[in-house]
């Protein structure tokens, strides 16, 4: 999406490279962006609209069929406050042995099993299975 500098309105500069991902639709705080299905295969008269409410933590969808039928859905989008994720630098720094070990950050605790699984190199074989 780009802004037309004369009319100061947004428009789709390249519909044939648009994925209908709705990122622009969801990002617009004024809900000013609407989408219409591609002319190649989508008959007119439909609409799929989204209302994403970050503070409420939900997204609501309204689907209108060409023949006027409607469907509505609401889903949660996040369970924690926006901005609440901790930087990895806020965790205790790893000790020097940990660098050459196989465990990644927060392991093994974050695996929720006792230790990281591993294989023994002796088991390797070449050929068909």
């Amino acid at each position: 999406m780009h802004i037309d500098t004369t009319y100061r309105r947004a428009y789709n500069i390249e519909p044939n490279m648009c994925w209908e991902c709705y990122s622009c639709v969801k990002a617009c705080p004024q809900n000013a962006i609407d989408a219409r299905g591609y002319a190649d295969f989508a008959p007119l008269g439909h609409s799929v609209r989204a209302l994403r409410e970050e503070a409420k933590g939900t997204i609501s969808w309204k689907i209108k069929f060409r023949d006027g039928r409607e469907k509505n859905f609401v889903s949660p989008i996040r369970t924690t406050p926006w901005g609440s994720i901790k930087s990895p630098a806020e965790y205790a720094a790893p000790n020097s042995e940990a660098f050459k070990a196989q465990e990644l950050a927060h392991e093994p605790e974050a695996l929720k099993i006792e230790r990281l699984p591993a294989l023994t190199p002796g088991k390797l074989k070449q050929g068909l299975i």
Binding site: I13, P15, N16, M17, C18, W19, E20, C21, Y22, S23, A27, G37, Y38, A39, D40, F41, A42, P43, H46, V48, A50, I59, W61, I63, K64, F65, R69, F73, S75, P76, I77, R78, T79, T80, W82, I85, K86, P88, A89, Y91, F99, Q102, L104, A105, E107, A110, L111, K112, I113, L116, P117, A118, L119, P121, K123, L124, K125, Q126, L128, I129
Partner: protein, 614 residues
């Protein structure tokens, strides 16, 4: 020309440069910071990491989760599954490595705020299938991006990386990358000790089903433009399994995925006359692949085969039987939310054509081929394996380092490891991030040495299409037909047509042979020459021009690999009509390629498959 003078060159120095801030790039950025507390970690992304990459729309399932805490699956099981699905050929060392770490990634996602669905009876994550767990993932990417933003020293959005920089003092060592800001046109020179390529897979190298306004409605994102392959290829890194393109069975026109429908909603397919057609093609498949046809679950490519043959036999359209399942209101909700959460375009198609799956069984079709390393295929760069158990032949440096020193990769970029998906890609990014920190620490004070001539030459090359357009535009009155340039869209359409007709796209029923591939390479060669005459009207088109360069190079790799492997290993993905059978005696191996930038030649070789898991 004034065009060049207005542009600033911006230098950015870092210890670790992450190219692409999608799932794997965010994982790499996060993990690099955990281990590299004092390092400068820079993530550069051509869009905005908040919504960039294949997960822009969100996802409705995490497709790679072991559930080791409940003993649901072990990493070995996942290796067996991926190996089976890829007809025997995966890098088991890399796959096991992802599988053993992936649960910790998913647990972090939940802690960060990703809404997970839970089984009301067991309290465990709600399974969609053996490997998949269901999420309310509309904000999956913004959540993951928040973690990466907190970790990075700097995130540079809206910069498309066009080339890697090589060290001028040490042969075969990476020293950074260059690119340009797609909004203001500034040229960027990134100098870095280690580079992690996380630039996603490739759509739009084969002609898509819709070619008008709807050509962007592909399954894989239209912005997945093969940079993940072209950047390492240009730097001389070895690539593997580039012939292993993927074709997906999807809902027609919207490309809505079928996973949740088959696995969770228990819908099934039938031909136009209401018949179950898969068993009919059992014998024909057995003739091609032998005993592989009896493996469970049936490999993804083989299921495509039955659908393709049934359509060719004139009994299409194939339909998904949804009418029964959708009578259950819970299942109906899941069916719709599945698309609203990750493929909104499918809901648009159904609304526009009055398709309510409760009353109509929707059509399925097969997609055009894509090149990727994270889904049910494993094209990508050849990478070093984990130091604790990878076979010696798969280990020449740090984990996930390519055959170029200091150059790492993750997600769609790395070959040989299918079925990573979103969680596995993030996990592989983490693995590469930690390895890159070790690499940088081991380098000590040694700084990367970039050559001014190299980046100045690249600067001219990168902006050339703007100049070509400005000069050539004077020769014509109006319109797009010029004798001295072609536009990026022209080049893209020519590429898609060549790949489609000669390398096994939809119009060729995914079939090719040596004469077709040879001719395809000739035409690709001419296209490559014509890329020097691309004209870009503005910075947006300049981005398209460089995406095209990357797509063409990746396509050339695909074609050479397809020519080299003289067998039909994955019927349903593609067919070598001149070598119509799977040939384990000669081809139970990986294919490797290396491109020589100076001569433009490709060298092909075989590499052994090691089976680590019984």
């Amino acid at each position: 020309m004034g065009l060049f003078n207005r542009r600033k060159t911006v230098f950015v120095d870092s210890d670790i440069l992450v190219i692409g801030g999608g799932m794997s790039g965010c994982g790499a950025t996060y993990e690099s910071r955990y281990w590299g507390r004092d390092l400068k970690i820079v993530c550069v992304e051509k869009a905005n990491i908040e919504r960039s990459g294949a997960v822009a729309q969100g996802l409705y399932a995490i497709n790679c989760y072991m559930g080791m805490q409940w003993n649901e699956n072990q990493p070995e099981d996942h290796v067996r599954y991926a190996r089976n699905d890829l007809m025997g050929l995966v890098r088991e060392d890399l796959g096991y490595d992802i599988a053993r770490h992936v649960d910790s990634t998913v647990h972090k996602f939940e802690e960060w705020g990703l809404p997970m669905m839970r089984d009301p009876k067991t309290g465990r994550y709600q399974r969609e299938g053996k490997w998949q767990i269901m999420i309310h993932g509309e904000s999956y990417k913004p959540i993951v991006a928040e973690a990466a933003r907190k970790a990075a020293t700097e995130v540079y959005n809206r910069i498309m990386v066009t080339h890697l920089l090589m060290d001028k003092t040490k042969a075969n060592r990476v020293a950074g990358a260059v690119g340009f800001n797609v909004r203001n046109g500034n040229f960027y020179v990134f100098r870095a000790k280690a580079v992690i390529v996380c630039a996603g897979g490739a759509s739009h190298i084969f002609k898509p089903r819709a070619v008008g306004e709807g050509m962007g409605r592909t399954w894989y994102a239209p912005w997945s433009s093969a940079s993940a392959y072209a950047l390492p290829i240009l730097a001389g890194a070895k690539m593997t399994q580039m012939e292993n393109r993927i074709v997906l069975t999807r809902f027609k026109d919207g490309y809505g995925p079928v996973g949740a429908y088959f696995l969770h909603l228990k819908t099934y397919t039938q031909n136009a006359y209401g018949e179950d057609y898969e068993p009919k093609w059992y014998e024909s498949l057995k003739a091609i692949v032998g005993d592989y046809v009896d493996r469970h679950p049936v490999p993804t490519c083989l299921r495509n085969h039955a659908l393709l043959e049934e359509v060719k036999a004139g009994r299409g359209p194939i339909r998904m039987v949804t009418k029964e399942a959708f009578q259950d209101p819970h299942k109906e909700t899941v069916g719709w939310e599945n698309f609203l959460g990750m493929t909104i375009g499918q809901a648009v198609v159904w609304a526009s054509q009055n398709i309510d799956p409760k009353h109509v069984n929707p059509e399925l079709t097969t997609s055009e081929p894509y090149v990727m390393g994270s889904h049910a295929t494993c094209s990508g760069a050849w990478a070093s394996g984990p130091s604790d158990y990878a076979p010696a032949e798969y280990q020449w440096g740090y984990n996930r380092m390519m055959t170029v020193a200091g150059l790492f990769g993750a997600g769609d970029t790395i070959g040989g490891t299918a079925h990573k998906f979103s969680s596995g890609s993030f996990t592989e990014g983490r693995i590469a991030g930690k390895a890159a920190v070790n690499y940088v620490n081991d380098l000590g004070r040694e700084q990367p040495q970039v050559s001014e001539t190299e980046y100045e030459d690249l600067r001219k090359l990168v902006f050339q299409p703007l100049e070509t357009y400005e000069v050539g535009r004077n020769e014509i009155v109006a319109g797009t037909v010029s004798p001295s340039y072609i536009l990026p869209i022209h080049g893209l359409q020519r590429l898609e047509k060549i790949m489609d007709e000669y390398v096994g796209g939809i119009s060729a029923h995914y079939t090719t042979n040596e004469p077709l591939l040879t001719r395809g390479l000739e035409l690709l060669g001419m296209l490559k020459e014509d890329l020097a005459f691309l004209g870009a009207e503005d910075l947006h088109q300049l981005q398209r021009a460089w995406e095209l360069h990357h797509r063409v190079l990746a396509s050339e790799a695909v074609t050479h690999h397809t020519m080299f492997r003289t067998e039909t290993r994955w019927p349903g993905y593609y067919y070598r009509a001149d070598h119509a059978k799977l040939d384990d005696a000669n081809w139970h191996c990986f294919t490797l390629s290396r491109y020589d930038l100076q001569s433009g030649k490709w060298e092909m070789e075989k590499a052994p498959v090691y089976h680590i898991i019984d």
